[in-house]
């Protein structure tokens, strides 16, 4: 089963041109560093992924100019920013506001509740998404804060501000 990449490119989402490509280039070193750090700190995460260690996921924060391609293969980790006009064929797509996705990674939000409210959209291989969700949910601590801490006090301050702003945002139907 593959996720419908035509839907991933649907009009209305930002990031179709040269600006998106530039943004991808700028964030890529950060993403590579983050994913290597998380994989090293939480090796048990991979066991819960089972056969979906080699599944390609598209993580799609709707307000950012790019999407994220994740293949959680411990032997060949992939986590890269991709412009929406050039997303690869993937097994599953997870779409929502950036902060919602971040809070889901940290279990600060409940994935089922976000799905019920239509803030979270899932297409493609549902089992792969469920395994990824359960694997991340078994991680103790905050992946977002670990990532922010890689950039010291400024990183932690930015994350705290983003979380405060997100807490005050209206919720519901954010993927449309």
């Amino acid at each position: 089963m593959t996720s419908d990449t035509v839907l991933s490119r649907r009009p209305g989402l930002p990031g179709q041109g040269a600006v998106a490509q530039l943004a991808c280039t700028l964030v890529q070193p950060l993403l590579s560093r983050v994913v290597r750090r998380i994989a090293a700190a939480h090796p048990s995460l991979f066991a819960r992924l089972g056969p979906h260690q080699t599944t390609d996921f598209l993580i799609d924060p709707v307000e950012l100019p790019f999407a994220l391609h994740l293949r959680p293969d411990p032997l060949a980790l992939v986590f890269r920013a991709v412009p929406r006009h050039a997303v690869p064929q993937v097994g599953a797509t997870i779409r929502g506001r950036f902060m919602l996705l971040l809070e889901l990674v940290d279990s600060e939000e409940d994935g089922d509740a976000a799905f019920f409210s239509r803030d979270l959209e899932v297409t493609g291989d549902t089992e792969a998404v469920v395994r990824l969700r359960n694997a991340l949910d078994d991680v103790d601590g905050s992946i977002a804060e670990e990532t922010a801490s890689m950039f010291g006090a400024p990183g932690r301050t930015i994350l705290a501000r983003m979380r405060r702003a997100y807490a005050n945002e209206p919720k519901g139907h954010a993927t449309r």
Binding site: D112, A113, R118, D138, K171
Partner: protein, 332 residues
């Protein structure tokens, strides 16, 4: 007054620790196989994880209940027996069982262990419950979600064991342990494989108008308009047309969650010993929020205060909640 223990879900070791920290009196969990009714991908415990989790829970005076609440296919009982032996060796405090063969094995092999009768046994009459108590030494029954509080009060007078009722989460009213709807479409059994609507058979489709349909094994079971809240992709909560109903309608049940937070005093007064929170498949965020809310409410009641009731509707299916049959048999 009954103890009003809070029995809380744990789908992973991290969720178990979250439940313990949030104030669970007991947590319930299962192995990564068909021996429990939440046999979902990436969920549940290895024996090694359970061993560490039992130690963690016991260090904080929290009990661990092991769900062995599915039915072994005929002649294939070894997996359930091994799970029971492992659970006993690791020191779980009780087993939650549905199948009489599993109950009998544990009663004979591990007679020092408590047996709780799962809701999957669908025992809703004093006669049925007494049968399990007399023949297998069952110490507690988890009642199906089809009884009113006066009925629970009456049952309590007629049975020799404790009563546990669901207070929050999935509102399943099918005859539990007997439902074959998933089996009908997917070939996998909720009751023997532990999978209701297996994720491998679920697909969500987004349509150009912003609506979303959910499919199970290729069959569309609901379609949600762009502004509509969604529910789980289970057949019992699907929306269908029929010769007499050209508009799609919920033929069996609606996507809605049980929330009995306002009925806790009445349930305690009726003799309920333990309150169960559904949701081993849910996140730590759900566990933290729901367990904390009910911990506070139960503590308020125990202290003779009016219970502070947190708003949990954001965590409910379809973002709707009901007191179901507990409030009135007229529900639906």
């Amino acid at each position: 007054m009954s103890l009003a223990e809070l029995i809380c879900p744990a789908g992973t070791p991290a969720a178990l620790r979250t439940a313990v920290d949030a104030g669970a009196d007991a947590v319930y969990c299962g192995f990564q196989d068909a021996t429990n009714a939440r046999n979902f991908p990436g969920l549940n415990f290895t024996p090694e994880e359970l061993e560490a989790s039992v130690a963690h829970a016991h260090a904080k005076a929290t009990k661990v209940l092991l769900a062995l609440n599915t039915y072994p296919p005929a002649g294939k009982v070894d997996l359930w027996r091994q799970a029971a032996d492992t659970g006993a060796r690791l020191g779980v405090d009780a087993f939650i069982v549905a199948d009489m063969g599993v109950a009998d094995y544990i009663a004979r092999t591990h007679p020092d262990k408590r047996l709780h009768l799962s809701v999957q046994a669908a025992a809703s009459s004093p006669e049925a419950i007494r049968y399990y108590c007399e023949n297998f030494g069952v110490r507690r029954v988890v009642l199906p979600r089809i009884l009113t509080i006066p009925e629970i009060r009456q049952i309590r007078k007629e049975i020799p064991c404790e009563i546990e009722t669901f207070i929050f989460g999935n509102h399943g009213l099918m005859v539990e342990g007997r439902c074959s709807l998933t089996n009908y479409l997917t070939g996998q059994s909720t009751n023997m494989d532990g999978v209701c609507s297996p994720a491998s058979d679920v697909e969500y489709l987004r349509h150009e108008d912003g609506s979303m349909s959910s499919q199970l094994a290729g069959f569309t079971i609901d379609r949600f308009s762009p502004d509509e809240k969604a529910g789980y992709p289970t057949i019992c909560k699907g929306r269908y047309t029929a010769p007499h109903r050209s508009e799609g309608y919920y033929a069996f049940e609606e996507p809605i969650s049980l929330n009995l937070s306002r009925l806790l005093p009445e349930l305690i007064d009726a003799g309920v010993h333990a309150f169960k929170i559904e949701g081993r498949q849910r996140s730590k965020s759900y566990v933290r929020g729901v367990v904390s809310a009910f911990r506070q409410a139960v503590d308020d009641i125990r202290a003779g205060r009016e219970a502070r009731i947190a708003d949990l509707v954001a965590l409910t299916e379809g973002q709707k909640q009901t007191q179901g049959a507990f409030e009135t048999r007229k529900w639906r």
